[in-house]
């Protein structure tokens, strides 16, 4: 799928070169206007650089010499939304949900992290540039490191962590999607001689994004039809079975608290933890804390969408991983297309 527009930095580079060669004063005015418009999306350093180079076309002598600037190290990559996944089944499901061919080569490669770019049209017809990547392993530290690398490579407007999680039996069922209104770091504690003093930390998405989420219900946007179609593609990827039974696969989309720690919960203790930490706990995973913290560090709005793939009990298996990741990824896509308002 083609992009809507070329990168602004490329446009600016072309326009400055045109300005240098242009003899018609009328055309130079138009080129300058065009340059001002295209440079508005660039980081300040890059904007100053191109503006100075353009001004240099209109003056000479010592004034022109003072406009010589060193080309800044520019952030030429801009992504309205970045999607982060942790493990291969999540990456595959997200690629399917966002129509990124599975075999296509990445657009960027940074220190082992691969980035795939794709455009998406929002409900107003505007284009959103999406970038997708995979951390490659579970865990909050790995996730935070990958996030940091992502934000140093892309200027990101919104970051969404998409993947699977253990769900609280009785409150959610396999395949449901939980969107975090709180990510709760439950493992933080102070160890004292008379025992551990629990110090859970909580992270909440920003006010605007939380409000957008309040208004969002994927079922109003043909979610099930989209899922049925996407699951056909998922089935073609042999090691991801989806879904076990079409007739009973009507996932729900709910908001709730997601527990995040370094432990894979497989002892059926989720309900105990609900009573201990927060009554609205619906799921538990291993990346949300590092993800939310790093997003806050970089001032990037964030969301976590988790498909329920098991109940965190001894019967834990991977049968629902592909399907649940697809549920979460399609919900994320619908949110971006229908629920998210790109800041002007």
């Amino acid at each position: 799928m083609p992009r809507k527009q070329e990168h602004s930095a490329t446009s600016c580079k072309v326009l400055v070169e045109r300005l240098k060669d242009c003899k018609s004063s009328d055309q130079r005015v138009l080129l300058l206007e065009d340059l001002l418009w295209k440079s508005r999306n660039l980081p300040p350093g890059a904007r100053w650089f191109y503006t100075a180079r353009a001004l240099k076309c209109f003056v000479d002598g010592p004034v022109a010499a003072r406009l010589d600037m060193e080309e800044p190290e520019m952030m030429t990559h801009k992504a309205d939304v970045a999607i982060l996944t942790a493990i291969p089944p999540e990456l595959i499901a997200t690629k399917i949900a966002f129509n990124i061919p599975l075999e296509i080569q990445e657009d960027e490669y940074v220190n082992g992290l691969r980035f795939w770019e794709t455009p998406l049209t929002d409900s107003t017809g505007g284009q959103l540039d999406i970038v997708l990547t995979m951390i490659g392993e579970s865990g909050n530290v790995s996730c935070a490191a990958a996030c940091d690398r992502l934000f140093n490579t892309y200027d990101v407007g919104l970051c969404i962590l998409v993947g699977v999680a253990a769900g609280l039996k009785g409150k959610v069922k396999l395949g449901d999607v939980v969107a975090a209104d709180i990510v709760l770091d439950y493992e933080n504690a102070r160890l004292e001689s008379d025992g551990a003093k629990k110090r859970p930390r909580q992270f909440s998405p920003g006010v605007q994004i939380a409000r957008d989420l309040e208004y969002f219900n994927p079922q109003q946007h043909n979610w099930y039809d989209i899922l049925r179609q996407a699951s056909g593609q998922l089935r073609e990827v042999t090691y991801l079975e989806a879904p076990p039974n079409d007739d009973f696969w009507n996932p729900e989309f709910v908001s709730g608290v997601i527990l995040s720690g370094e432990k894979l919960i497989a002892d059926g203790s989720l309900d105990v933890r609900r009573k201990e930490y927060h009554d609205r706990i619906r799921a538990a995973e291993m990346e949300g804390r590092g993800f939310a913290r790093m997003c806050e560090e970089h001032g990037v709005p964030w969301l976590v969408f988790r498909g329920i793939s098991d109940y965190g009990d001894p019967q834990i298996n991977k049968d629902w991983q592909g399907t649940s990741a697809l549920d979460a990824a399609t919900a994320a896509r619908l949110f971006i297309e229908r629920g998210y308002k790109k800041p002007i």
């Binding site: 070329e6 490329t10 045109r18 005015v29 065009d34 295209k38 017809g125």
Partner: protein, 573 residues
Amino acid sequence: MKRVGIVSCKFGSGAASTLGESHLEFYLSVAKAITNEPVTPVQAPPLARMAITNERLNARPGAVGDAIAKRCSEVAKCAEVIVVDLDVPEMANIRGSAHINAYAAINLALQTTHKPEQSRALMLILLVPELPDSNSSSMRLLNPDLAKGNIVLISDAGKILPEEISRPSFNKEQYRLKLSEIRGKPIELLRHKLVRQRGHFKRFVNGVHTECVPLYFDGRLCSVEVRKLVHDYVLQNYPGGARPHFIYRPDYSNWLEGLLHILAGEIGAECHRVWEVLERPELGDDFDVCAPLLIVQLIDSGNSLTEVRNQVCSKFQLDEIKCLAVLSTTGNEPCFGSRLVAGAEIAYFLKVPQIRQLVADCPMCRLDLPYSKEGHDDNLMLTSYEFWTMVDIAGLKKEDDPPPYRMKLEAVPDFPRILDSNGAWIASKIGDLLKNVTGQLPNDIVVVCPDQKGSQVLTEYLHLVSGVTVIRIRDEDIRSAKDLNTPDSLIDEWERTQPEWYMQIRAAATQKVVVLDEFCVSAVKRDALHTVMGQLKKTVVCYFALADFCPQLAEKSSIPVMSLYEWRMYGGA
């Protein structure tokens, strides 16, 4: 004297249209040739042509069939012969089941109009792009009436069913030529519909990237025209009904391969990839009788063509084979010319300009611009390099028809001249953008635009390339709508005076319209056109301008605003 009625349907079209005298004459000549009797029309021009949108075809194919059947039944009340023209342009999304529904409609029309108690027999002559396969459902549906002689099918290539009946008055070539004439001359259509894609394309010499070119010539939208031109070439250069073997190189034939196979099927020729030919020595016997025809879509330096020609000549010990290029970058004539390459004469249909630059001198390489893919634009909108290159060639001009509520712009890109050289490409890009925004094929959409010079040229190209229906609204009516205080009185006025655009829009088969303009400076006209459409109960799915000089206002618009290029012009809004 047979009384002849006409039912004309255009698939993949947003609004009904009318056909003139030349179409009526053509249909009557076909009826006369098939029946071998004098004919008289039961309708006078202008003839109404039904519009059948792709959306309707896909969503309610049965209803389409009913509409055709109904029209046939009406015409059958006073006609003995009905010519049903099922015109399916290249861009129409009509396949399989849609054909079956059209044929089912014909069948239904025959059943309802041809009752046993009626003394006169009704004959239907169906003009279709291609004859259906003998085993297809369509054929099974039509077979009983074909056998009775109630239905005659004629394809665009002049093939006729049932074949067994002798029709001395029907001349296949004459039919094909007349059809080309009423649909436009193929070489002119090729010239206008050929997409000259701008970009940064690599050129290789002996596998090494040594040069870059700024244009790729994409003929995918002109396959009908190229087929006709190649067919004519064969008729002129292979006398006595001889049919040559077509040879082509698939790696240099992105858009040629498919159409060559269709043509070969139509005229009873054979079509081979060059590698297949070289592995089949038995073809040498055929080549001794009739020289094969090596066809390429574009000849530039001629190296690739010479290599293939030498391989074929040497393998089959031929002194010479005929070579034909659809396009050539040099030659003695703008069209239907020839050029010498390594001592061999190569005929071509159309000369196209190309600039080859060594990598070291390439301005796009200097700017580190990404390489482009042939036949595929990386960006839906124009890039700065593409836009300003076109402006450099076309120049600037003063604004033509400024509205009274703002100052005339002293310098704007000369869009009509830009369109003159790049119209098909720009129109195909607009089509892609509209498809992206509306989710519909462009030819399902009715395009509404101000009746001004720039918009006229733009919409003519859009119509030619994408088959969209264009309705042009008079400037004074848009201005009236701008000051709209009493919409009802305005509608009453249009009801009374019945301007052409108003009647067309009332008759449009779709409720969805796209408002299109050459460029947008202040969004006033855009809002006025939106108001007019609202009053006429039409849904504006998108506002489109070739260039948007007030993109900052797009965010405030309630409908998607699209353009191929945008920047904020400070002399504007």
